[in-house]
């Protein structure tokens, strides 16, 4: 009996290690490729652990490819899309969880449908309108469409978090003489902080990963965001693998670090909407 458990445990461990290895290996590979010496990267058989390190690829990323412009654009676009979505989503999420207005179910489902929206279906008319309004090649022209994606997502995540906070707390505050708004600000918002935080991160990352808008609503390279910026590295005859690896490390490491620190809240935010407790 004891032996059986032991074998099961060992198998479980092997599975777990294999699982983590598959998850982490591509990222590890990208990381060490970006620090390899350009000569070693082109060497076959390739080194699983580099014999020497170099920052050449990182230098290229900023001096040859001007990656800092793409990074800056991505930070601005994702940051504002996230901020704006949260500001608009918070009152809406409050209404959906606390107020039984007529037709609330319809509008709640409307938001859910919006969350699954295939954006290809709106890209062209928006492009036509944006061209008339001179929004092509502007930050606003990237932020506005991104909100279509991040806003419904934020509403849904916030609804899930707000649903976990008991309504009694708010009512008790109101009985104690607070107005509804005071009750929300003094009782709900402090309790909401972790949920708000993880919603913000999820919205930011979703905006950061968006490709289509930066492809369509921008025609000049100085307005591109990171996802399109990286595809621009590819030359006519060569693919600068090392430069691309270094660029993607610059674009992902900060996010991966934030994600690792806040993993608990993010997992809660990602799954809260789908699992009814």
């Amino acid at each position: 009996m004891k032996k059986k458990i032991k074998i099961g445990k060992i198998f479980g461990l092997i599975f777990a290690v294999l699982f983590v290895a598959i998850l982490v290996f591509p990222f590890y590979w990208q990381l060490i490729s970006s620090f390899k010496d350009p000569e070693d990267l082109m060497m076959m058989p390739t080194e699983i652990w580099p014999s020497r390190f170099s920052l050449d690829f990182f230098k290229n990323v900023f001096s040859v490819h001007h990656f800092d412009t793409f990074l800056k654009n991505s930070i601005i676009v994702s940051g504002f899309s996230m901020l704006f979505s949260i500001l608009v989503a918070l009152p809406a999420a409050y209404a959906f969880t606390r107020i039984r207005f007529s037709g609330y179910k319809f509008w709640k489902n409307f938001m859910l449908l919006a969350n699954m929206f295939p954006i290809i279906a709106v890209v062209t008319p928006l492009f036509v309108v944006f061209k008339k309004l001179h929004l092509v090649n502007t930050y606003a022209g990237l932020i506005i469409p991104t909100i279509v994606i991040t806003l419904p997502l934020s509403i849904w995540t916030l609804v899930a978090f707000l649903g976990q906070i008991p309504y009694d707390l708010e009512q008790a505050a109101q009985i104690d003489g607070c107005t509804r708004l005071q009750a929300v600000c003094k009782v709900i918002l402090p309790l909401m902080t972790p949920g708000l935080f993880s919603t913000a991160i999820i919205a930011f990352i979703t905006a950061w990963n968006e490709l289509m808008f930066s492809l369509v609503f921008v025609t000049k390279n100085e307005w591109r965001t990171v996802p399109v910026g990286i595809t621009l590295f590819v030359g006519e005859f060569t693919v600068p693998w090392g430069d691309m690896a270094a660029a993607s490390i610059c674009a992902t490491v900060p996010i991966v670090i934030v994600v690792l620190i806040c993993q608990k809240q993010i997992v809660a935010g990602l799954t809260a909407g789908a699992v009814k407790g």
């Binding site: 777990a16 489902n109 699954m116």
Partner: protein
């Protein structure tokens, strides 16, 4: 004066609607109004480079797409087989991952952290990471497979119709299965432990417990994940766009990529719009099914 006479229901309505108004108006303006434009373009002969020929043609674009256009039919077929294989693979790997995280006593935090990495990386970067690993000359995958003795000569992954499809499925699976694993883990955690304990007392083995307790309890969330991932797979764009560009020989062109090509390569807004309307209808039907079936019991 008047506001004081409002009954509580009307008051709730006013507060409720004013709180959701900004969100609703934004989504109507940037999401819903353009859909009607797309639909109206889809009924026109609308090619940007031939403005003189623009005009109403009824359902001609749709008829052409569904009966004659080989690119549409190829991309539909590619998307369907891509969705089929990648979703099944993601569910299987995701389920294993969820079981591992659920069973593990130590290191859960580590695994959960690892699981979030693929989710957080942009699709384009994921595609680029894997393209480098799949590279026939410099790629580490060929080297590993060679060292293990599985292959004798390098596979030209992205230059071969079959292997390019496999590569896209594997890449998308790596990016998406963590989400499946996290959702299923959340589902597993809602199953009361007592159920397993009493099954143990009754002498049920592990497999029996899995079939009679785990599966039925996790079925609702499994179906939700299945639906979500199918919708996601039908919308695949960024990985194929940057990994294969739809090639070789259109073997990885998907619906969204083909619609994108109609719009921005051929500048044929009529056909592109007809195609995106079809995609929109498919996704919306699936979303309505999700709402009706899985959220109907909500308060």
């Amino acid at each position: 004066m008047k506001t004081k006479r409002l009954n509580p229901g009307a008051r709730e309505n006013i507060i409720g609607y004013s709180l959701i108004a900004p969100a609703v108006i934004l989504i109507l303006l940037i999401g819903i109004v353009p859909i009607f434009n797309t639909f109206s373009y889809s009924l026109q002969n609308y090619v940007l480079s031939k403005p003189k020929d623009r005009g109403f043609v009824g359902l001609e674009n749709y008829v052409y797409l569904l009966t004659q256009d080989k690119y549409f039919l190829i991309s539909l077929w590619n998307t369907l087989r891509f969705a089929f294989f990648s979703v099944i693979l993601q569910l299987v790997v995701g389920f294993i991952g969820a079981m591992l995280m659920h069973k593990a006593t130590k290191g859960v935090t580590l695994v959960r952290a690892a699981v979030l990495i693929p989710w957080a990386i942009p699709g384009v970067i994921v595609a680029q990471m894997w393209s480098f690993m799949f590279n026939d000359q410099l790629g580490v995958l060929n080297q590993i497979l060679m060292n293990l003795g599985i292959i004798q000569e390098n596979i030209t992954w992205l230059a071969d119709s079959f292997w390019a499809f496999v590569a896209v499925v594997l890449t998308d699976t790596w990016k998406q299965f963590p989400f499946v694993a996290l959702m299923l883990l959340a589902g597993l955690q809602t199953i009361p432990h007592e159920l397993y304990e009493s099954a143990e007392v009754d002498g049920a083995g592990k497999i029996r417990q899995f079939v009679s307790i785990t599966l039925p309890n996790i079925k609702p969330i499994l179906l939700v994940v299945l639906l979500f991932r199918t919708m996601g797979a039908l919308r695949i764009f960024d990985i194929v766009y940057s990994m294969t560009g739809g090639g070789p020989a259109n073997s990885t062109t998907t619906l969204l990529l083909q619609a994108y090509n109609y719009f921005f390569k051929d500048l044929n807004y009529g056909k592109g719009s007809a195609m995106s309307t079809i995609i929109f209808i498919i996704i919306m039907i699936m979303s309505v099914i999700y709402i009706k079936v899985f959220r109907s019991d909500e308060d």
